[in-house]
Symmetry: C2
Subunit: 352 residues, 2 copies
């Protein structure tokens, strides 16, 4: 039996607990042994919850229980989650995470701690929700020099832009609609200002190019200034506007990375990815362009990605491990003034 | 050092040899040791070939050389390749294959032999060329009950249909053009009659549902009877015609599987995948729909998939292994008379 502790019982955490329960036979078949959620840690109370007997408040119970092999971190943020993750890895437990902020901020350090302790730190769920992208990029395209990654990595902003394009809604009205539907948070700034997309493109860039990319070194423009006039102008050129994260290895060895609304041709592989869907196009020297798309967020899609990482932890530490090195971004990431971008106008990038 | 022998020096085989050479540093980094092609086996001579010193004619040299850890089988067909594969696996060598006919015909037997001998039999390149689909389906979506797989799995027929739809060419003219461009073979029947697609959907169905599906139990209709009238009729309904392989788990536990030209709505995830590109949509209970697309054939895209499997063989037998059981398809695969399909007319399926 493999024991799992889930820390953070929000949308994703509760999805993981339910999925482990619902698809328990499948986990047993794929992992070769039963997989059971033993503890749920959250500071909040959940009276009447189906899994009430599993709820605990003390993280040390998890650390000190030799039956816990895997800690699922769905806390979010880079404070408590950072401490929990380090402690769990140092206690010899695999950690599976959906926390893009933590991975983008401390990924190289946490991967090194995992390696020292011969455990896995996996985070398929941190980018693209349920879409398999981290494992395909790192393992399935292992034989490729990766040249470029471009993606629609945030469902909220893609929903807002889709509504602006398809229905002519203003940014403000579309945002309000997204909030009413639960796609955007009350404070939507991490989404609409591009920070969420930035964390995700940093993670993908680190996987592809082998060195940590710090979000503060990435030029990040959100969609708050995109107007219906911009959309009409793009349309007149046969283009649509999408918020993209882009990372490209240049001939001088630097990585050109940015987040911005981009006007892309209508036959671009990402042009038809609408609503809350995410899509990522990876360009490798052997494979050419390869595109992945699906639900980039949500309870069960994200739990699906966590579940795959749980199975990976069980089946083989060595095989599953990801590695990138920490780096001074000064020489590795192109500085803002050296980005070779063309603009539609304002800060909307023209991208082919 | 890991020694590789490539058997079959055609388009894919020569791509693998070149990729191992060109990206040797990448292979070393990903696999943790150097990977070298030591032998190339082909009945033909290649005088002046860049890798002439590696060419051999006797398969026993490979079998008897303890330095050969991995045999890459890009021979094709299910006769010589079948014997070579069994011998290599029994000699304790991993086998990596791009041979869909062999996997679709003898997959369960070869997987069992691999397991007995504690080696891998991997075949990412057998479906979708360079697109990572087998590993994502089997490993990355491990936490999902897979409900359905639908795919454009053959580039030749997708090219022909694209030309008919976009340029109004007749089937015969479009086929001739595909042959001139090298997309279709002189004898194109395996492609245009749907057999190639059939083998690939059989492999995906076996991976998703755990039991071998024999091609002869799959209703297979090609595109030879698709006319410009059919395309116009589909267009009038807001649809396009694509040759699809489809496999769906039904509530009674049977799998409904078929290959046919299908009229799909223009907003279907596969509707915009054109020319020689392939695309596959997988539906899982947790992830929902997830689509993968890219180059489904060609020298380097296919070599990219072989390369990933080579790295997987080196990094971890246990983790990488795929397994499905042999099965009498009588109870598992829906018989032809029980397929619940709607038709546009003739044998063109209406699919949403």
């Amino acid at each position: 039996m493999v024991g799992v502790a889930v820390i953070g019982y929000g949308v994703v955490g509760s999805g993981v607990v339910e999925l482990l329960d619902k698809n328990s036979k499948l986990f047993e078949k794929k992992a070769g042994q039963t997989v059971e959620c033993k503890y749920i840690l959250d500071i909040r109370d959940f009276p009447g919850d189906k899994y009430e007997d599993k709820h605990i408040k003390d993280f040390n119970i998890i650390i000190n229980d030799p039956e816990i092999n895997i800690v699922v971190e769905t806390v979010g943020g880079a404070t408590f989650a950072y401490e929990y993750t380090k402690k769990a890895l140092r206690a010899g437990k695999h950690v599976v995470s959906s926390n893009k902020e933590l991975v983008a901020t401390y990924g190289s350090e946490l991967l090194a701690i995992a390696k020292e302790n011969n455990v896995c730190y996996l985070f398929e769920a941190s980018v693209g929700g349920g879409i398999p992208i981290i494992n395909p990029l790192y393992h399935c395209l292992a034989a490729n020099e990766i040249h470029k990654i471009v993606g629609i990595l945030n469902g909220t902003t893609n929903y807002i832009l889709t509504k602006m394009i398809r229905e002519g809604l203003s940014f403000e009205t579309a945002l309000k609609q997204a909030q009413q539907l639960g796609y955007a948070e009350a404070n939507p700034s991490a989404d609409i200002e591009g920070h969420d997309t930035c964390r995700k493109i940093c993670i993908l860039a680190a996987l592809a190019f082998g060195r940590h990319v710090y979000p503060q070194n990435v030029k990040t423009v959100g969609i708050t200034n995109v107007t219906l006039d911009d959309i009409a102008k793009a349309e007149s050129m046969g283009r649509v506007i999408k918020l993209l994260g882009s990372a490209e290895k240049k001939e001088d060895g630097t990585v050109e990375i940015f987040v911005a609304p981009c006007a892309i041709p209508k036959d671009h592989p990402l042009a038809n990815i609408e609503d809350v869907f995410n899509g990522i196009t990876v360009t490798g020297d052997a494979v050419g362009d390869c595109t992945f798309y699906g639900r980039g967020a949500g309870k069960f899609p994200t739990a699906s990605a966590v579940g795959a990482d749980i199975v990976d932890c069980i089946k083989g530490t060595e095989k599953s491990n990801i590695m990138w090195v920490d780096s001074d971004n000064a020489e590795f990431v192109r500085s803002f003034d050296k980005l070779e971008l063309e603009y539609l106008d304002k800060e909307i990038v023209l991208l082919d």
